[in-house]
């Protein structure tokens, strides 16, 4: 007998087979539909709780989540999967989500979109969950009191230890499996077979970088530059610069003189942000950063390393193409200069996810994307928006992934 612990709706241990049997029962008010009112009302009430000042102040990332789930935003999401002449949208059925442990709110986005699509969901919550994730579970359980019984029956979040039987049972029962994980985890979870009609949506290891126009920086006003420094801080220091979308390398695009001036200015403003925010960088993390950056010098990737306290390390890359894609510890920024954005296109690989930008015109960014031609880079967003979740993620239009189409042609 393989048990899981129910976190939402909060309960005790339950056998995985009993959990799956309950999911298969048709809810009293009829099966869930795409954009089902019972789910929409629940999500809107949940979002209101997240937007309460006490919650949003303590966990700013939950404020963003609450914003994402407001009624107006939900309507926009649903418009993407509205019925069309000759084409009806339905839920996929049962979706099994395996979220990451370190970015502790992503499971909510994954789940909420799938619920909105009308699916029954089982979300695996890390036993290491803490802080924001626990606040989310509390808010979900509090919201349940006013919710339709169908929500309680079809939406489940559970914790379990290393148990192949549970992972196997949940995988076999799924119509869609969503794996947010490193490459290794994706491969491990994939050992468990899906039903023939089912498939995976995977979010493997990714890395991200920033492009800044040197001339654009120097042409920006004080307010814009301060906002960009703060944006870079938020993009990088939340989640210890370990989120897939957190930028690592900073590419300056422009001539040497402009770049030198712009870079010095950005680093001074980032320093001011750090002096205000005082992020915690403990001794272990400080050593980690030394190991990572010194290693870049040893293997010839870096030509200069500078530490401005433990919170900020910059590394000059010997060659802009030699971009370090692995995690280097929080507040570690390799830097390089190129003459044009187009020079960066050849070094893009599939693993590259988000490009945050400052100081470019829209056409320049579109040209860059066309030059890259889909070989990598799924998002090009302003500096400061790296971590803002969107319904299109890693190149997937998630509302469409979470639904299926029945086409009707009447002669």
């Amino acid at each position: 007998m393989s048990k899981v612990i129910e976190r939402f709706p909060a309960g005790g241990a339950i056998d995985v087979d009993d959990l799956l049997a309950a999911l298969r029962n048709t809810p009293a008010g009829g099966p869930l539909t795409v954009g089902d009112d019972r789910v929409v009302e629940f999500l809107v009430a949940f979002a209101r709780r997240l937007l309460r000042p006490a919650v949003a102040r303590r966990y700013p990332e939950l404020g963003s989540l609450g914003f994402f789930l407001r009624r107006a935003e939900i309507n926009k999401l649903l418009a993407r999967v509205a019925d069309e002449p000759g084409q009806l949208r339905f839920p996929r059925g049962t979706v099994f989500h395996v979220p990451p442990a370190n970015v502790d709110t992503i499971f909510v986005y994954s789940w909420a979109l799938s619920a909105l699509a009308g699916n029954a969901n089982v979300v695996r919550i890390s036993s290491r969950s803490a802080g924001a994730a626990d606040a989310v579970l509390d808010a979900l359980n509090d919201t349940l009191a006013e919710a339709d019984e169908a929500v309680r029956q079809t939406q489940r979040m559970v914790t379990y230890g290393r148990d192949d039987v549970v992972t196997g049972a949940l995988s076999a029962a799924a119509d869609l499996r969503v794996i947010w994980g490193g490459d290794r985890s994706v491969n491990e979870i994939r050992r468990h077979p899906l039903a023939p009609h089912a498939r995976d949506v995977t979010f493997p290891d990714r890395s991200s970088f920033t492009v800044l126009s040197s001339a654009g920086w120097l042409g920006a006003d004080e307010r814009e530059r301060d906002a960009a420094a703060l944006g870079l801080y938020n993009d990088s220091y939340w989640f210890d610069q370990a989120a897939c979308s957190s930028p690592r390398t900073l590419y300056w695009v422009g001539d040497a003189a402009d770049t030198e001036a712009a870079r010095t200015d950005l680093l001074a403003r980032l320093r001011a942000v750090l002096d205000g925010k005082r992020p915690e960088v403990d001794a272990a993390m400080a050593v980690e950063k030394r190991v990572a950056t010194y290693g870049l010098a040893v293997d010839g990737t870096a030509t200069a390393i500078r530490f401005d306290g433990n919170e900020l390390a910059t590394v000059e890359l010997a060659d802009p193409a030699d971009i370090p894609r692995r995690w280097l510890g929080v507040g570690t920024f390799p830097q390089a200069r190129v003459d044009t954005l187009a020079e960066l296109a050849p070094l893009v690989v599939r693993r590259d996810q988000t490009v945050t930008h400052f100081g470019f015109k829209a056409e320049e960014l579109v040209d860059f994307a066309r030059t890259v031609a889909g070989r990598g880079v799924d998002r090009i967003v302003p500096i400061g928006d790296a971590l803002s979740f969107a319904a299109t993620w890693d190149g997937y239009d998630l509302m469409r992934e979470f639904t299926r189409i029945t086409s009707i042609i009447a002669r």
Binding site: V103, S185, D205, A283, A286, V287, G300, A302, N310
Partner: protein, 348 residues
């Protein structure tokens, strides 16, 4: 003959030029090390007033990179460390370094164990050496020390159970003369101390050399003082020397003085405790991260290494031996190296 003779001022004055010379030697012979120095702004010919100003390397670099100052042809031996995460340090020795390693270890220990090989009790199991594939750092540590004794007797049998008969036989034969005991700290406590206390064994002629740290004993509330007190009271064992060393520092053993008042540095070495916020040296009595300093490493650039251990200097030139008197307080927690989305491994 003893290697614990230099007061702090003499030691620093003697070591500084040697360390500067070593830094230049490694710069000239290891392109990797030369690149690192250049990246950090330590250019040739820079003057250093104090040992603490010289550039140090985080010890974990040896786990991810080949760092050596000898040619491939000159490599005589490669030492590897244990690693809980699967990473191991690789330390490259030429013939000279390999010889020096054993010689300096011997010279360091001679003031406490004397010039002759003594009968030796090993608080470990012979099974440690049975399977070559699983030959561990623990095995290597035991093997390295075995050279200092004779008539080796293991305290544990092949199933890791205390072997009372073997220990009794050893003590019957050798217990009335000085004999050597070696073991990892926690094993010495869990197996030898318990066994000796329950069976009223007389260890009063023993000389115990032990290492490995106190982490596994903290839940038993056993620290160095308690360890020494209880061994003395219950078994008569009073000559106890803790030591501290690492594979990345060949031939260097920081040894506890006769009174248990702290660890000391052999004359060719020193220790610097750094503040993990500023990386400056901290005053006596302030805990920090341990940097080890040694003039022995010539075949690899390991003469100035930042460890991942925390320690504290209790005093300078105020103990049974001259120089810094210090303790190791435990390991730094390891920052988790992460992939970006890191699905919790237990799900897999």
């Amino acid at each position: 003959m003893t290697l614990f003779t230099l007061d702090q001022a003499t030691r620093e004055a003697r070591l500084l030029p040697e360390l500067v010379e070593l830094t230049e030697h490694h710069r000239a012979n290891s392109p990797e090390y030369a690149r690192l120095l250049a990246s950090l702004g330590h250019h040739p010919g820079r003057r250093y007033e104090r040992i603490a100003d010289l550039p140090w390397l985080p010890v974990r670099l040896f786990k991810h990179h080949v760092l050596k100052s000898i040619t491939d042809d000159e490599v005589f031996k490669v030492l590897t460390s244990s690693g809980t995460t699967g990473d191991v340090s690789r330390i490259y020795l030429d013939k000279e370094a390999a010889g020096l390693q054993q010689k300096m270890l011997s010279a360091t220990l001679s003031p406490v164990i004397g010039p002759r090989r003594l009968p030796m009790l090993l608080v470990d199991t012979r099974a440690l050496f049975k399977d070559r594939r699983s030959f561990s750092a623990r095995g290597a540590g035991v093997l390295g020390l075995m050279n200092f004794g004779r008539d080796h007797t293991f305290v544990l049998d092949e199933n890791d159970r205390p072997d009372l008969e073997a220990v009794r036989a050893f003590l019957d034969k050798h217990g009335d003369q000085p004999f050597l005991i070696f073991g990892f700290t926690f094993m010495t406590w869990l197996y030898l101390y318990e066994l000796a206390r329950e069976n009223k064994l007389d260890l009063s002629n023993g000389i115990l050399i032990h290492s490995g740290g106190w982490k596994k004993l903290t839940d038993r509330a056993v620290d160095n003082d308690e360890f020494r007190r209880r061994f003395a009271e219950e078994t008569g064992l009073r000559r106890i020397h803790n030591f501290y060393g690492m594979v990345e520092q060949i031939g260097l053993t920081f040894l506890e003085g006769t009174d248990g008042g702290g660890l000391y540095c052999p004359d060719f070495s020193d220790i610097i405790i750094r503040d993990p916020r500023t990386w400056e040296e901290v005053p006596v009595g302030t805990p920090g991260v341990v940097q080890v300093v040694s003039t022995l490493p010539r075949s690899y650039p390991g003469h100035l290494l930042l460890t991942e251990d925390q320690g504290v200097v209790h005093g300078v030139d105020d103990g049974v031996w001259p120089g810094k008197r210090f303790s190791i307080l435990g390991r730094l927690p390891r920052a988790e190296a992460r992939g970006c989305s890191d699905t919790f491994a237990e799900a897999a």
